[in-house]
């Protein structure tokens, strides 16, 4: 469903040109639980940004179910992101002025497709799925790190995305909570068949991942399925 064809990305830093990706080619199938690993500066985040329609490649194509992202305008990319892609960030990135429920419903409200009732039902389902029942009216500042990341997961999944991109989702969590969170995502991956793509250094994530791609100097040097 997701095809990367010879993706290259170059940045200009002053007079120098820095090549973050040097021709990444891969296929990611629906329902995969995949980790991209590699040292800092290897191009993991750049790849995730391109897959998340936050950035465009200098060369190459990204095809989502046949749709070519490189040909899309800024607004079309926003729209694609809104419908099909979700993010889970290392630092949770919840909106501090919104409650748990409001944070989770945010992607649906932005999408403006579902009715209030549908949104409410969907949000309550997600709250239950991530184990936050009873906390829906709390604000992010009233939650622990693990709970915040659960909210972020619920927010990512509420719109039934094609792809969830998680950038170091366990980096700010203790090992017990990290395992809970990864286990939760793995469970959702199994039950909902949602595709997860991680950028991570965490061995725990690698333990759960069914596919691990190693990125080095902007190229995939190893891609193994378990």
């Amino acid at each position: 469903m997701l095809v990367l064809e010879n993706i290259k990305k170059a940045y200009r830093k002053g007079d120098q040109i820095f090549n973050a990706l040097n021709g990444v080619t891969a296929e990611i199938n629906k329902g995969e639980f995949m980790a991209i690993v590699g040292p800092s500066g290897s191009g993991k985040s750049t790849l995730l940004n391109i897959l998340g329609c936050l950035d465009t490649p200098t060369e190459g194509n990204v095809l989502y179910d046949g749709a070519e992202l490189g040909k899309m305008s800024e607004n079309e990319l926003s729209s694609y992101r809104k419908k099909h892609i979700a993010f889970i960030f290392q630092s949770y990135n919840l909106i501090p002025v919104l409650t748990v429920r409001e944070n989770i419903e945010l992607p649906l409200v932005i999408d403006k497709v579902r009715t209030k009732k549908e949104i409410s039902q969907k949000v309550m389902l997600m709250i239950e799925a991530v184990g936050l029942s009873g906390l829906q009216d709390r604000f992010p500042r009233e939650l622990s790190g693990g709970q915040e990341q659960r909210v972020a997961i619920a927010r990512a999944l509420v719109k039934d995305p094609l792809l969830v991109l998680a950038d170091e989702p366990t980096a700010n969590l203790d090992s017990v909570t990290a395992e809970e969170i990864i286990s939760l995502m793995k469970g959702i991956n199994k039950t909902m068949n949602t595709t997860f793509l991680f950028s991570t250094h965490d061995p725990l994530v690698q333990k759960y991942a069914q596919r691990i791609a190693v990125l080095k100097d902007g190229l995939i040097c190893s891609d193994e399925r378990k």
Partner: protein
Amino acid sequence: MGALLKISIRNIHRHSRRTLSSAVTIAAGLTMFIFMNSMYKGMDYAAIDNMINLTTSSVKIHTQSYIKEKKSLPLDYGIDTYDSLTAYLASNQKVKSFTRRTEFLGQLSNYTDALPVVGTVVDPSSDTTVFNLHKYLEGEFFPGKSEKEIIIGRSLARELNVSVGDFVTLQALTRYESHNADEFIITGLINSSDPNLNKNTLFITYQDANIFLDLDNLITEIDLQVFRNQNLNIMTQEMEQVGTSIENHFSNLKTATFKELGAAFFEMAKQKQSFGMIFMLLILLIASVGIFNTVLMSVYERIREIGILRSHGMRGFDVMIMFCTEGFITGLLGSTLGLIIGSVANSFLIYKGFPLEAFAGNVNTTGMPVWGTIYGEWNPDVMFFAFIFGVVTATLAGLIPAYKASKMNIIETLRFV
């Protein structure tokens, strides 16, 4: 839009101190704007009051023939429908009071020097109900203690080196164009805000003028006062209505309101108001800088939040709307507060007045000095303008930082610490 509004309102609430300080800045600007505007209008009104009460009255009535010859102030073309006119004026509910006057040209002498003067024959019993010369008088307003009493301007008295109680000789052509001269005793000196009145004007009574000028109760001018209205425009309209109705009833008469008589004054007042408006707009612009700063701070504090929203597919335009909404709400709060405080301050100015004399002495406003207490005026159109200006300026002040926010690179905003 619901989500945007919710986030905007919550952010405004979250940063309540900052919001309040911005709202107070706008409120202060608006309060000053409303108060100063009312004060300016009040000063104009006070100057107009002086003009009406000293020289022009609300409406002057002459015969049409007299108007044609007015420059020479002839003792002719009198109002021969005086009785029916006064009966009509007495029955008109908009007319507060009226009096008769007759102007003539003459010379005033202290037996050594003689100066040209404009004489006015007045009816002491009714003149004080229309004009308030008696309030600017050193001495007495025709006390009736002796025959041939005269009131002259203080500057004129100085030039002639005479004072209250002294005798002067008045020379003039009578109604039948024969020369006459007689001695008058000065009972009062006018020290008013109108230099013309102080310098070359004198007043005598009909009782003396009937003999001195062979006047035979010739009346060339009727002056009337309408009831004072807090709103100058309404009062002017009422004067015009009274004037028109008189002209409709008495075809040989011509009326002129104070606005026509003081046209030059109003032209200057208009120019002054334009300058005042620029000054007051500057106050509001300064307030808008405060708003700009607030929204800018808000944008920088929430750069990461912008990134999150955009990563969920929110368009840059929606982000811009969100920040503009915050500016709008802050503007709405500030403008409402300003309107309330401005109205309270204005009420004080309207009902209690501002003792200008105690603070600044006499103030010369467009050639017509003002003293005493200044009273403000309700100007709903100006208040509405100020309110809308406050809201719009605050919204626009948020536009530039909001536009910047909407154009930020999403990846950079997500990395922003």
